[in-house]
């Protein structure tokens, strides 16, 4: 076929964290997991992981104690909505930032 020097730029991406840039900066509320309510953490056995499955940004790890990559978590709240045990709460970023600042000052 014809060989022409076309670059053909399009926007394609593999799914996973960082797909749309550092979306962590979009967050207004932060998901916080209460491990005492989280099934796999409580039983120390792989189970549930609905938060991992539903997170549209793929930023929740599939571990006994699930972790959230806040660099990319955009704060949509889907994980909190889907969690069957109510282990995930959405907390105002501003309150958390104030708390973090106070902790920093103490150290």
């Amino acid at each position: 076929m014809d060989e022409f020097k076309c670059e053909i730029k399009t926007s394609n991406s593999k799914s996973g964290p960082g797909d749309a840039g550092r979306t962590g900066s979009w967050r207004v509320e932060r998901p916080v997991i209460d491990l005492s309510k989280c099934t796999p953490a409580k039983r120390q056995k792989d189970s549930c992981y609905l938060c991992w499955l539903y997170c549209p940004d793929g930023v929740i790890s599939k571990e006994l104690e699930p972790k959230i990559d806040l660099e990319y978590c955009k704060g949509c709240g889907i994980c909190a909505q889907e969690c069957p045990t109510g282990a995930i709460k959405m907390v105002e970023e501003t309150s958390l930032i104030e708390e973090e600042r106070k902790n920093d000052e103490k150290n």
Binding site: D2, C6, I8, S11, K14, S15, A20, G21
Partner: protein
């Protein structure tokens, strides 16, 4: 093989020879016989393709976008309000760089309703990023459909093949149907470079940021403006590519040689009429008549409207005393669309020819040879203070 058939059938036979794999189209006058012929060919196993019936033109093009993204050669066709209904997907197909081919069987746009011919439908989509080719007769329809697939696939930009509703779509003319084996060699099986692959899942045409962004692996990816600039640049490369493809077609089938524009009696002419589609053919008779009277006038039929062949336009027109643009579409509130483009192209010329504009035949209004004759003659004999406005021919006053 010679055939006497309608323009719509000529298009369908071109699509068949191109061995498309997916057809999705919604019938609309005057395109309907084209889609009917295609469904008949597929139903009768003469064309081994999937005909996907849809509920609208928007879906028709969406299906073709999906098919092409999965690596299939796809085709659709429409007219007028159908084209406008799919407009969102028209822009999408170009931005997604999918090598689709669509026939636009030109018809006026409502309101008020009209099913008759003019060029407003495809002209209104000229800024969508597609390649637009306007053809003059049945032979050009079938040849151009085949070339369009190779062009679309070479530059990964969709191509509209535009031909006049009724004047070409429903009239019968003799034309040659190219040999199937030769077409197979000219247009081999399509291999899309960026096909969806279940083994390697990815998102196509994902949201872009105003800035270039690092992807998941930290590699910088182009932003919206970079991607659009690339489309614009590569549309420009489609001009020489189309010339090469046409030359290859001429070598194989003995027809072609003037893919960008064809000229009639333009050599040494003082005045050149510029037009598109079947109208350009009709103007030949008027040009003959005027030459018999001693007026040196020719007609230039522009085939490639987008990308706009600026350099070729300048070369063809800069030595004329005057240019007369006769067209069946306009930018409402301004002037003829082609007229504006031609004037802009000639602006840098040192000795600029005058450019006059006539709007004709909207919504199928009868185009009289006498009107064409009077208008062209008026321009060729015009004094310096001939007002620079778009003149409407054939109004019922």
């Amino acid at each position: 093989m010679k055939k006497i058939e309608s323009g719509n059938v000529a298009a369908a036979l071109g699509v068949k020879l191109a061995k498309v794999q997916v057809v999705a189209a919604y019938p609309i006058t005057p395109q309907t016989p084209l889609t009917e012929k295609l469904s008949e060919l597929i139903e009768g196993d003469e064309l081994k393709a999937e005909y996907i019936t849809v509920e609208s033109e928007h879906s028709a093009l969406a299906v073709c976008i999906g098919a092409a993204s999965a690596g299939a050669r796809a085709f659709t066709a429409t007219s007028a309000n159908g084209l406008l209904y799919m407009s969102e997907q028209v822009h999408w197909a170009a931005g997604a760089r999918l090598p689709l081919v669509m026939c636009v069987v030109n018809r006026g746009v409502g309101a008020p309703w009209t099913v008759w011919n003019d060029h407003q439908d495809s002209i209104s989509q000229r800024d969508a990023g597609w390649i637009q080719i306007y053809v003059n007769d049945h032979q050009e329809i079938i040849d151009t459909v085949i070339k369009a697939f190779r062009l679309a696939e070479a530059v990964s930009i969709p191509v509209m093949v535009c031909y006049d509703g009724y004047y070409l779509s429903h009239t019968y003319m003799p034309f040659d149907v190219p040999d199937e084996q030769k077409v197979d060699t000219f247009l081999p099986e399509y291999q899309y470079k960026h096909t969806l692959d279940p083994q390697n899942p990815e998102n196509l045409n994902t949201v872009t940021m105003p800035f270039a962004r690092p992807d998941r692996d930290g590699v910088t990816q182009p932003g919206y403006m970079d991607i659009r600039h690339n489309l614009h640049e590569e549309l420009g490369t489609a001009i020489p590519v189309f010339e090469q493809i046409d030359a290859a077609y001429k070598e194989a089938f003995g027809r072609g040689g003037k893919p960008i524009m064809s000229d009639y009696r333009c050599e040494g002419a003082d005045y050149i009429v510029v037009s598109m589609g079947s109208l350009a053919n009709r103007i030949k008779d008027v040009v003959d008549e005027l030459n018999d009277e001693g007026v040196k006038v020719g007609v230039l039929s522009l085939h490639l409207y987008r990308p706009f062949p600026r350099e070729q336009i300048i070369a063809a027109l800069e030595n004329a005393k005057g240019v007369i643009v006769i067209e069946k579409a306009l930018s409402y509130g301004n002037e003829g669309a082609l007229f504006g483009d031609i004037k802009a192209a000639l602006y840098p010329c040192e000795k600029r020819p005058f450019v006059h504009n006539y709007i004709i035949g909207l919504g199928g209004r009868e185009i009289k040879q006498a009107d064409l004759y009077d208008s062209i003659k008026a321009s060729c004999t015009a004094s310096e203070n001939f007002e620079d406005v778009s003149r409407w021919i054939g109004l019922n006053r």
